[in-house]
């Protein structure tokens, strides 16, 4: 878990090459503490993130990768690595 500082108990461990690829059917171990994860159910098209990252290959999620490296994860960072802007470009 991040936030309190303690990174918790991710079942997917980091290596020199980055986080290991998750086993099929394995959901992201950070989903319980990720502030964006609950947001991804509130509209049907937002489930795109869960089906593409959280419940699929979360090892390619930019948020997961940063957290696995022990670095702070910007709240506005999407799993794709893009940063949400407050106002349209």
């Amino acid at each position: 878990m991040r936030g309190g500082g303690w990174s918790g108990h991710a079942s997917t461990v980091s290596s020199a090459d980055g986080p290991k690829k998750p086993a099929p059917g394995q959901s992201c171990p950070h989903s319980a503490t990720c502030p964006l994860y609950p947001q991804f159910t509130m509209a049907s098209f937002l489930r795109y993130w869960r089906t593409s990252y959280c419940d699929a290959d979360f090892s390619r999620c930019a948020r997961f990768r940063l957290a696995s490296e022990g670095k702070p994860v910007p709240v506005n960072m999407l799993p794709s690595g893009n940063l949400m802007k407050l106002t349209p470009k």
């Binding site: 309190g4 918790g8 609950p38 709240v75 506005n76 949400m84 802007k85």
Partner: protein
């Protein structure tokens, strides 16, 4: 002022009670688990952490977050060539769609206060017991083991502790108090390793120093 109970080593139950109140109180008040090494880590990344705090404040409004998320998701889906039904494109962002509010992180300054108070609490306990002294020289046992290199050995030991706790994802507070309190297998194992290796090394050193 001299409190008899604070003289010498504290009774185990008093120490346990103080740690339990701290760990449970921290979680109850802040909604986060206590982890001291993680606090140090945040201080090391203070600049990035402050930037994240600023972003978080901006996105704390549910409607703002919902609107930004909607806009960026649709853009991402378009980049990926995924068709979005027109009714979803036209749908306004409602409070229900905005989702739950993001739970605020513990502010960096709050964790800095905790770390300072940790030292202050230790100093206060010792002062109340009447034995607070400041020592600039390493302990005689350290000097016996490492000679003039004792300060460097202490520094190296500190680096090893920092490296190990980050590698293990927590320290004696994060794993030992917060994790073991929640019966997390990883924390139980990590704590067994911390204390097991500590006891083993103490026994070796006791023989060496004897």
């Amino acid at each position: 002022m001299n409190l008899e109970v604070l003289n010498g080593r504290w009774p185990f139950w008093l120490g346990a009670l103080a740690l339990a109140v701290t760990a449970v109180g921290y979680a109850a008040v802040l909604g986060r688990l206590l982890g001291v090494s993680g606090m140090y880590e945040r201080l090391v990344h203070a600049r990035a952490e402050l930037a994240v705090d600023r972003e978080e404040r901006a996105f704390r409004d549910r409607a703002t977050l919902g609107e930004a998320l909607r806009r960026e998701t649709l853009a991402e889906m378009e980049r990926q060539g995924i068709q979005v039904p027109p009714e979803e494109l036209a749908a306004p962002v409602t409070t229900a769609q905005a989702g739950p509010a993001i739970a605020p992180r513990v502010p960096l300054w709050g964790q800095l206060v905790f770390l300072v108070m940790m030292f202050a609490g230790g100093a206060l306990a010792k002062a109340l017991a009447g034995g607070l002294t400041f020592q600039s020289q390493p302990d005689p046992a350290h000097l016996q083991l490492f000679g003039k290199a004792a300060p460097l050995a202490l520094l190296f030991g500190g680096v090893l502790v920092g490296f190990g706790t980050r590698m293990a994802g927590g320290c004696t507070s994060g794993h030992g108090l917060s994790g073991c309190g929640r019966l997390q297998p990883g924390s139980l194992l990590a704590t067994a390793c911390f204390f097991g290796s500590g006891v083993a090394l103490s026994m070796v050193l006791a023989r060496v120093l004897a």
